[in-house]
């Protein structure tokens, strides 16, 4: 098995035929295809890459999970703790921002941040850009994105009843959230 493992800088032998697309962990220099990670190169379709399950920084189109830390009329700040399904080490969270125009796809001008998120909510979002020096820009403007876990004022875990509302099972009160469509529905 050790022959399959490659080290950074090691050339990767390619089969005859068209050169595959290069994915993560592979680079090309002076016409040679080389590895830049320790691992076993493998094909996903026509892309040759070395897969890594180690935590990495968010990039555009990463799906992230995070909890809301701060709300303002213009934006909600979240602390990103999971990137593409890989949890980050504790204390190494990235900060993301959901701007008011990125909360939902329709009626963007009527969005009220306070009616969509509350502090402590766990949100699933999509990174749209690297943003500014402090934070990544995250959007929830898709059916499957939004709040996936929230507690009510009385402290119980709420369940979604529509894409804009959640109900507290203890008191029966309805609170407003921008909910994510539950998986498998």
């Amino acid at each position: 098995m050790s022959s399959d493992l490659v080290l950074p800088g090691q050339p990767i032998p390619l089969p005859r035929g068209p050169v595959p697309q290069l994915g993560s962990g592979i680079y090309s220099r002076d016409g040679n295809i080389r590895a830049s990670l320790v691992g076993i190169p493998g094909y996903e379709g026509s892309t040759l890459s070395i897969s890594r399950t180690r935590p990495h920084a968010p990039s555009s189109n990463s799906i992230v999970l995070g909890s809301i830390t701060r709300l303002s009329p213009q934006q909600a700040t979240l602390s990103i703790s999971v990137v593409d399904g890989v949890p980050l080490p504790p204390g190494e969270e990235f900060t993301g921002v959901i701007r008011v125009q990125d909360v939902r796809a329709t009626e963007k001008d009527r969005v009220k941040i306070a009616d969509c998120f509350r502090g402590g909510d766990v949100v699933k979002g999509l990174v749209i850009s690297l943003g500014d020096a402090r934070s990544y820009y995250v959007t929830t403007a898709r059916n499957d994105l939004g709040v996936i876990f929230a507690t009510s004022e009385s402290g119980a875990t709420m369940e979604p009843v529509s894409w804009q509302e959640m109900r507290c099972p203890r008191t029966g009160r309805i609170e407003k959230r921008k909910c994510a469509k539950p998986e498998g529905l």
Binding site: M1, S2, L5, L7, P8, G9, Q10, S24, G25, Y27, R29, R34, S36, L37, V38, G39, R52, R54, P55, H56, A57, S59, P89, E92, E93, F94, T95, L130, D132, A133, R134
Partner: protein, 280 residues
């Protein structure tokens, strides 16, 4: 009375005496200028022990030991750089610390000029290898702790090797593994991987770092008196090519001599990384 008394630290007794080592006097008296090297051949390096992944809370780590040089290295990140402005490329942050007991004289646990020059050399050696263009807005932190110090040249060389192994262990994309080797001129000879004692007798020293897999150099650092011809056999910057290596092997000097050893050190690092990859 005691102006530099620090009550936050464990202070030693008021009166103390340095321990007397008997082997130290032996070593000093035995070598005289003009003699050939003792203990090993001029072109030999000290045996290297390298293990990756020893520090569990770090993203990647490595421990290197070459006789009396012992360095532990931990890599954290990529984490979000908070204080700096927006940057397309990532940042590589290297910090070196000497343990208080690492040198013959006690080192106060404060940052001084030596720590920083060491950190700069190691950062320079690693910088061309790490693919920072893939890590926008992020910082990689490398912390090296010198547990035992036997010559600053050896510390820089071993530190660079350990840091590169730790980066590979952390899964940070690199163009190649960085190897480094030091050399000093003592009289007419060139001694590879000098100890502190040997470096003291040397007229000049040289540290070369590079990526043997790509046949490139990343950092060359020279100090003291060293004739250019000894430093360079310039044609052989890509001397990891086997044919050129063999052509020059008879008059191996300076950089070439270091680069020959790269292949040996690379084998050790590769073995350490493969062992670690199999265990996890």
């Amino acid at each position: 009375m005691q102006s530099n008394f620090d009550r936050r630290r464990i202070n030693g007794p008021e009166e103390s005496f340095p321990p007397v080592y008997d082997h130290e006097e032996e070593a000093e008296s035995s070598w005289k200028p003009g003699q050939s090297r003792q203990g090993r051949a001029a072109g030999d390096i000290r045996p290297i022990f390298l293990k990756a992944g020893l520090i569990s809370q770090a993203n990647g780590s490595a421990y290197i030991e070459t006789e009396h040089t012992k360095i532990a290295c931990a890599v954290y990140g990529p984490r979000q750089s908070k204080t700096t402005v927006y940057n397309e490329n990532g940042r590589l942050n290297v910090e070196v610390k000497f343990a208080p007991f690492s040198c013959t004289r006690r080192r106060a646990p404060i940052r001084d000029a030596e720590d920083r020059s060491l950190a700069v050399q190691i950062q320079q050696a690693l910088l061309p290898a790490v693919r920072l263009e893939l890590l926008p807005k992020s910082t990689i932190d490398i912390f090296l702790t010198v547990i035992e110090n036997d010559g600053i040249e050896g510390c820089i060389a071993s530190g660079s090797v350990a840091a590169s192994a730790a980066l590979a262990d952390a899964g940070i994309e690199m163009l190649g593994l960085v190897m480094a080797c030091s050399a000093s001129t003592v009289g007419e000879e060139i001694w590879l991987d000098p100890t502190a004692q040997e470096a003291q007798n040397a007229s000049g020293s040289l540290i070369v770092a590079g990526m043997p897999a790509l046949g490139t150099l990343t950092n060359v650092w020279q100090s003291g008196r060293l004739a250019p011809i000894r430093v360079l056999q310039v044609s052989s910057v890509h001397a990891t090519d086997d044919r050129i290596l063999r052509a020059h092997i008879n008059h191996s000097q300076g950089m070439e001599a270091c680069q020959e050893r790269f292949v040996d050190i690379h084998t050790i690092v590769a073995q350490a990384l493969l062992d670690n990859a199999h265990n996890t």
